[in-house]
Symmetry: C2
Subunit: 436 residues, 2 copies
């Protein structure tokens, strides 16, 4: 006998639906003063004492008996060795995934541009890659080779000359598939360090670790807190909240498929959120039955159950128009449109990290190998932010080259506006360029 | 008799040059616990009590005798009225500047794209504007109409349906040119509120102020601190440091022009930074003489003097190659290449917010009307970030639409990788799509 699964049911026709939905979605990351203080101490120590501090923290937090930073550097040959230690099937899968991710991201690459005006003035934008990017890869249980591909490949496609990876190896545990992924993604240097000390080392540099311009990649609360603190000194990617999926289904997909798609999110962690929206009440019942049937068969049953019961929901809507409204309200990280002719709804969708269209496009395909990035905006931030991409590793410089004639005309306008703002040195600098 | 001006002189050939340069550039924004606490209280009050709290804070901080939010809303007609209250010359200058800024930014607009693979799988990226953007405009002495144009126009070009502007009017002071700029930039709604309370209202919404998706625009320490706190709930632009210019000159530009270009930065505020680099030692002396001669003639002499003496520098380099190295090390917000044939150096320049090329392109032209944005990365952050642009008001959603055949092939790869990560619900979700 299977244990009943208590998954929340909502009806968009209810008067208090908006309120229930708000409550369901509410998520505020906990900021912990204790963590904050410890992280600030670690950053300070690494800034002041460099390698020595990193070695000490690694001895303490990762229980590693290392004498110096030299013991925490993995040479390229070690990555190549990992390629021979994973199965041929794994290597093939990683290489195919990497090729697809690379091919997709090459379409995101932006080029410099410029145009010349009638008077000879040239305006444009010069696009350049970052000099050096840092990639944080968690060690231990949440060590994901796919994240190495998804973070390193866009940087390399952008043209970043040096990608530096840090990955802790607590008690000496090394994940061979992670190192193999680093080899395939052309990561340039690897340090087996982690935590706030690794973030601080990447941001400020030490005798051994070169300072980077941007730090990307997931991590625990110490890593996330350290990233917040070094932001400004270096760039960072988003601080991710728990992962979420919203499945919109017309009721015609196999309910077992939909249940498993929801589980593929729920198995991540207890705070993950999996929501199904459908205009078909009978279908919601079928999926509830599939959930109850399949949940006990999951390897990560306990995690998935906590997620489904705590933050999951089955939402009944009037029609597909209302389903899309709910999707835009949620602005989900992953939006699965498990419907007939999903293209018809695309113009109405305004906010989603990634849109998985049709019954065959399981989120898991996008997580690993379809090509688009799996680092996506969570917790409704798709309203204003985008998937990780090549554009995160490129930056722009405005180009302005005024001809003598152009400067003379623009100088007159600038003079009026600058004097309107009482910035008269601005005005006089412009006026010098006005022809008499 | 003019007072001597004590401007720092550095020589790149000195052994300790790198150290001196680091010291010159060092800048850490002060974080003030008192400010932090007050800002958190204000945000909490606005979240809990909405309009009532905003009205109270406005009464207190802006010394405004207002009864309700209705007194803090400027209708469109009031903006139109402002257009009639400024001079014809000012209106013409604003309109020309706006047209040029619009025309340049239209070239930054990004479109959705997609491609179809051999098996029918479609991959792409859908680009959409934000629903609503908030623009903070400071009141009082630092009230800049040009900032209204530079922040609002990219949002409108991106297609943001609603741009909401907040501008405090301490003691009832209204800047007519700012309102006129808002009319010209097609700002949709204006509230005369400011400070942390305005940022909180934009982030969380009140009965009268609609919640926005991103907040941009400059502000004082309270505004900057509030923006940091609401980041995550909404997007924000960069928290700007003091403005800076690096002029690279071959020694052939009129030294008075270069001195005034340096002043146009130095007059902003005491912390602004103006640096000149040249391989011509005699020219550095000439510019020093021009600085001493012209400084007393500035309306904002005191501010400019503090900036020049406290944070300015004249740097002698061996040659233009070394000058460009210094520029890349500094990654300046504004880089003026006041040299013959500046194009020849462009490929070597890796980091700068905006590059002003040739002797005629004074920074002031770019500040007001050349077309590119004047909101630029400060304090070396040009190493990893870009000028404000249309791309800051657009975001992307990945598109994945697998054909049945595509899902079957991708499912096999995803299955291997997911099992390698022990995420078996991911694997089973993918495996459902594999054809037998």
């Amino acid at each position: 006998m299977t244990a009943p699964v208590a998954i929340r049911r909502l009806n968009a026709a209810d008067a208090d639906f908006a309120q229930h939905l708000d409550h369901l979605l509410s998520w505020e990351s906990v900021s912990d003063d204790g963590v904050n203080g410890r992280v600030l101490d670690i950053i300070k120590a690494v800034r002041e004492r460099g390698d020595a501090a990193v070695v000490e923290f690694t001895q303490r937090f990762d229980a590693l008996d290392v004498a110096s930073m030299a013991d925490l550097i993995l040479p390229r040959e070690r990555l190549e060795l990992a390629l021979t230690r994973i199965t041929a099937e794994q290597r093939q899968a990683l290489e195919t995934a990497a090729a697809r991710v690379r091919s997709y991201h090459e379409k995101q690459k932006q080029d410099s541009w410029a145009y010349t005006e009638a008077d000879g003035t040239v305006l444009g934008q010069k696009v350049t890659p970052l000099d050096r990017a840092g990639l944080y890869v968690p060690g231990g249980k949440a060590s994901y080779p796919s994240s190495v591909l998804m973070n390193a490949i866009p940087a390399k496609v952008a043209g970043v000359p040096e990608v530096v990876m840090v990955v802790p190896t607590p008690r000496g545990e090394i994940n061979e598939i992670v190192l193999a992924a680093a080899a395939i993604a052309s990561v340039d240097r690897v340090f087996t360090i982690g935590g706030a000390q690794a973030v601080a080392a990447l941001a400020y540099g030490t005798e051994s670790v070169p300072p980077v311009d941007k730090i990307v990649g997931p991590g625990n609360i110490y890593v996330a807190t350290a990233k917040r603190h070094v932001f400004g000194k270096v760039g960072i990617d988003m601080i991710a909240g728990p992962s979420e999926i919203l499945v919109v289904c017309d009721g015609q997909t196999d309910p077992d498929w939909i249940a498993m798609d929801l589980f593929s999110q729920a198995e991540h962690d207890e705070d993950a959120q999996a929501i199904l929206v459908s205009p078909d009440a009978a279908f919601l019942d079928k999926v509830a039955a599939s959930i109850a049937k399949l949940l006990p068969s999951l390897e990560r049953e306990t995690i998935a159950r906590t997620s489904i019961e705590g933050r999951g929901a089955l939402i009944l809507v009037e029609d597909m128009t209302q389903a899309i409204e709910v999707a835009n309200r949620i602005a989900p990280e992953h939006l699965e449109l498990s419907v007939e002719n999903p293209e018809q709804y695309l113009p109405q969708i305004r906010h989603a990290g990634a849109i998985f269209m049709g019954r065959y496009t399981a989120e898991a395909l996008g997580d690993y190998c379809a090509g688009p990035n799996h680092v996506l905006p969570t917790s409704g931030t798709a309203r204003f932010s985008s998937p990780l991409g090549v554009y995160d590793f490129q930056k722009r410089s405005s180009i302005i080259h005024c001809s003598a004639a152009g400067a003379s005309e623009l100088g007159k306008i600038a003079s009026v506006l600058a004097r309107g703002e009482s910035l008269t040195a601005h005005a006089r600098s412009a006026e010098y360029r006005i022809k008499n």
